[in-house]
Structure formats: C-alpha cells, structure tokens
Symmetry: C2
Subunit: 233 residues, 2 copies
DNA sequence: TTGTCGGCCGATCGCCGACAA
DNA sequence: TTGTCGGCGATCGGCCGACAA
C-alpha cells in the first residue's frame, strides 16, 4: 500500500518508519521475544550475537489481508562495524541516502480518524460522521435537497469498494452513514474502541483504513464490563 | 466413532471395511493418484514397487470434524510374499483372525436415512420426517395431544447435541421438524441432495450423521441449474 | 405418504428525530 | 457538535395448512 496511507492509518502514536539506507541495530533476542512467529532462515550464528549493525535496504508498507491492520516489512543487511559512526544510528527522520521508502509520490493526503462509539459499532445502527470528515473528505452535499443525501463509494486498503449512504438530517442536523455501514462493521468485525480512518488523495478518490483498539478492556458492552469486573475483583 | 455408526453413515454403496489381520494388496501408485494429499513418510523404495502385500493391523473409524463425513484409517504392515496364499486376498467379509475391527460391541443400531429435498434444505424451512424414521427411531408422540409435539435431543458424531421440535400436524397429518432444523442445516452447510441419517442405539439414545452428495450437478436451485445448462450447452 | 407453495404472524433490522451532554 | 435512546415501518425468518404428486 502507499506510504501515505500507511502513515494515516498507523496514527500519530506510531513510530516513523526507518529510511532506506539508514543504519540501525538489529537485536535478535528482542525480535524472538516480541515476534508472534519465530523468525526463520536465520543462522544460529545470528542469534548468538546480542546486537547486529545493519543497513536498511528496503522498507515496504502493507495492510493485513484479514484485519486491515497496517505494518511494515523492513529488509536489513548486516554491515561491518567499522564502517559506521554513532550518528548513523540515531532515529532518522530524513533520508540519509536517496530520499527513500521507494515512494517519491508523497502527495498530500487528507485524512480524518474517528474512534467508534458503541452506537457506531452497534450492528444495525448507523455511523455519526464527524463534521470535519464530511467537510474535508467527502464530496459536498447539495443542501438544497431535503434531506441532503448521497451514496459514497470508498475503497479499502485491499482495493475493495464499499458503499455508504451519506445523509444530513436530524435535529439538530448532522452527518450520518446509514445503509451500507452495518455491512462494513460486520465484515471488518469492528467493535467500539476501534478506529476508522477516511482518506482522500489529490484526485478526490476516497479510501478507508482501520486501526484496532489495543486496550484489552475496551469494546465491551456495559454489562460485559461489569461482569468482567466482578470476576476479576 | 463406533463402527456401527460408521456403517450406517457410509451407506449401502460403501465397501465393507477390511478386517483386522486380513491380508490385502497396497498399490502405492494408486494411492498417489487418488489421494487428496500426498502420502508421507514412505520411503522411495515403496513407490518403486507396483504392489505390496500387507497385513491389516488396525482399522479405525472417524468422522471429519468439519464436514461430518465418515472415513477409515487403515494401518498396513508389509508381509513377506511367501507367507500368504491367494485366498488371503479375497475381499474378506468375516474375520480371518480375531473377529476384528476392535469393536466387539456391534449391537444392533436402527437407522433411517433421507436425501434432503429443496424444501428440507431451504433455510427457514422445516424438515419432512419420513414416516419410518418417526416410527423406528424417535420416541412415540402422545397422539392425544393436539397437536402432538415433542423436543428431540439428538447427538451428532462429534458429541454435539442438537434440539429439534418434532410435531405431527397438517392435512393430511405428517411428521415434521420445525424449530432447530434451520440452525442445523445452516451449521452443517447442508444442501439439497445431501443425506441425513438418524440412528438409535439399544439404549434409545439418538444420533445423527451426514452423507454429502457427490453428484456435482445437484444441490442447485432450478434457476441455477438452467443457467448452468445454458452455459454448458 | 410427502414435496411444494402461499399466507401470515412475530422478531429483527435499520432509519428516524428527540434530547441532552 | 454528536452520543444515545425510543419509536416505528419494512423486511425476513419461520410456522402453518392446502393441495397435489
């Protein structure tokens, strides 16, 4: 997926991806400790060392086919210790060689994220569209219509297109998604606490990405929370 | 699973399972040709031979955890060619040594199979219980009630219990499953042409097994069939 | 005896404005 | 501006007898 989408979906709390040709340390034991699946195809010699100086030879951006969660694949090559200086290992924010990430087309992408409320995630319910999202991302409604309404076609990070009925109604007036939203929540298995990120590129095409809630106690109904509290004391 | 259930579910067209200690021929190439997954852990020497005389050392009965389809695991041990006679390789119907299959408790099991009609398989619909099934397998209804009705608890081949509302009604009167049937069809992903087999052991406990339809053109709606016919000419 | 259909009733889905935070 | 709720209309699941094969 394009780096610009990755940035928007990873969110502000995510670390900036490393830059191609920058130098980093690889900690084999830390990798083993934190990785969900064991690293493969690495010689036992690698594991015997506490730290290995490396050069970032490639950074690629992906979205998980099942969960839509974004992640990176970072290709590392070991380098001789003598050929580097301490400065090379500082967190790089600008390319130290060939303004990298294989993505020169870093056009501006407007994005708007929202954490889903229980009402948003409730199946059969709709989605309260944040005002900023409607103004910045979606095509303007014709407010002479009563009610103003349009059907949006928004692409997810795998290229699948989702349709949402976008309507401006109620008292006081507000932007809502109705038809299509429920199917999206169901398909993506979204629960309250998760986030959706709506994006628009310079051509006006709209995209939607997800960020799953990592806090374990969230995404439960009030009843479930109380029940859990009772069990855990 | 018990051999008696396996027999009932495999049906009359299935070959009788081999008997323990009987002698059979193993055809490696035939195995490779017909098996869905390649046989493993066999030395290349085995594949080089067209046929290998074997002794059946174990026969075990299983039901696929996902599809409920019954199958056998037959453990073979190669035997020296000289130690056998032609008679040993005839299809055995009675044990040639130690009345086998590890299942002496072959009590009588009453069973009744039915091929599902479109109406049976239609989600939201019921199930027309064959008269023989109601008479032979299920507990008798109290025909003084109006309508006669009971809830049956029937165990599948994995030990899961399913509830069916069994009612005798309509004009003319007939046996039907209503509540519970739809969920069963959905969970087991049954389509018209598949079969259900109801069984009762000597203790009166009821069981249900499945047999999937192997004919490829079946299980389609009329519209789908016509459409397929049109494409295929 | 049993396969298929139309009717119909109740449950659920999902759209709505009201209201308050 | 927007989260939650109750209302309620449309849709669908699923139970029913009629009727014919």
């Amino acid at each position: 997926i394009p780096a610009k989408f990755w940035r928007a979906c990873a969110g502000i709390s995510a670390q900036e991806p490393p830059v191609v040709n920058s130098r980093v340390y690889y900690f084999p034991q830390g990798h083993i400790d934190q990785a969900a699946s064991k690293p493969r195809n690495l010689s036992p010699l690698v594991y015997s060392k506490p730290v290995i100086p490396c050069r970032v030879s490639a950074v690629n951006f992906f979205a998980d086919p099942n969960t839509d969660e974004v992640f990176l694949k970072i290709l590392l090559h070991p380098v001789a210790v003598g050929s580097s200086t301490a400065q090379d290992f500082l967190p790089a924010t600008e390319g130290s060689g060939g303004n990298g990430n294989g993505n020169g087309n870093d056009e501006k992408v407007q994005s708007c994220a929202k954490i889903l409320t229980r009402t948003d995630a409730n199946l059969g319910g709709g989605f309260s569209v944040p005002r900023a999202c409607a103004d910045l991302i979606f095509p303007p409604l014709n407010f002479e219509d009563d009610p103003p309404v349009q059907t949006l076609r928004i692409t997810d990070l795998h290229g699948a297109v989702w349709e949402f009925r976008h309507i401006y109604r109620g008292t006081p007036k507000r932007h809502l998604f109705t038809s299509g939203w429920s199917k999206f929540v169901d398909s993506k298995m979204l629960i309250s606490g998760d986030s959706v990120i709506f994006m628009k590129d310079s051509d006006g095409r709209m995209f939607v990405g997800l960020r799953r809630n990592m806090s374990p106690d969230d995404g439960l109904s009030d009843g479930e929370s109380e029940w859990l509290d009772a069990i855990l004391g």
